[in-house]
Amino acid sequence: MASTQSRASKAASDAELIARAQRGDEEAFGALFEVHKRRVYSLCLRMTGDTAEAEDLAQEAFLQLFRKIATFRGESAFSTWLHRLVVNVVLMHLRKKGLQQVSLDEPDASQDEPLKREYGDDDKRLLHSIDRITLSRAIDGLPPGYRAVLVLHDVEGYEHNEIAQILNCSVGNSKSQLHKARLKLRELLRSQRLPASMGGVKPPG
């Protein structure tokens, strides 16, 4: 109940700020920036893994937002609209950089060929905990295509049908790439694993 009320009041305050921003009110622009800056910047940072690029992209995203704010129709949540805009800005940037991306069009073979694994003694030890820095570093170490799907799904909470639209792939590919990304992330986390005594997130259950 409390979270519904706070979402409703946030939506109402966004609506007021948007209306004022549409009239060119500087304070309204500033307030909108304050409310959304962390989410926008974090998304840019996680998808690029580079603070300088994330700054530039966050700037570009806010500039596009404020230039287009007059066209916001109010039919979807403002944060959804903003989020979509930020993802587009980042993806355009990644494409311009010509990064070798994992093709998201490859056929989904994950159901056909089970992974062949051999286990050493080390592989039965759990991670136990993952601190924020280790996780961020591991996400940064993912190939760009894996990173994009994992950030959009596991960090930002997009559904596969939304990711498929954003990344122009099929839902099946989004799912298979996410699974591969998670396995790769696990590999990276294990290769830079810190002792459990460092604390961090406890395993569920």
Binding site: S42, R46, K175, V201
Partner: protein, 222 residues
Amino acid sequence: MLQQGGNGAAHQATASCRDFDVQLSDYLEGQDRPAVTTHAVECEFCGAVLADLLLARSASAGLAEDEPPARVWANVRATLVAEGLIHSPRQRGRWMEWLLTPAPAAALTALVLLSVFAGRSLIHRYHQTAVDVAEIVVGRDLMQNVSQMEVAFRAQSARLNPTVERAYEEDLASLDGEIKECQDTLARQPDDNLSREYLASAYTEKARVLESALELGDSDGR
């Protein structure tokens, strides 16, 4: 199925492990896959995989957000002001306060009266206002940069192929025409947002054209 030896000999994946692998993705997507949970209890290696993936997923969802540096807003704000998309209440406030005080109000009245009888003064003020508005919309730095680049372009335009040089000259003339037209409109209607937008855009385009001309002048294929 090979068992884990005390000396660290490898554990070979079994048919159950392979089933686990095949169904793991669906399980993590929320589908009911008893084979995954059952096998995770029986097999410590697959159990470790499942536990790690669940932990990583949970940690990813809970990743805290980062704070951007202050310069991000400073840069955004400066660009929005240059494009005329925001109006600082402080500027308006200063002008309004100034006009409401008696002495400036009287001076303004006298100036208007003088201008009615001296046509030249009126035209001079018109141009001055146009330049002031351009500076507010575009920013003095960009205007000065464009001016300097234009000087550099004229100094080296002879190095360009004549048809290319002519093309640049035409473009610059066209953009100067736009700039003048926007400035004239803004002198009459300072709140005209579309003119502000096009004025800022014309200056930006002019900077890009000059930059392209200077780069081409430098790279003659040597």
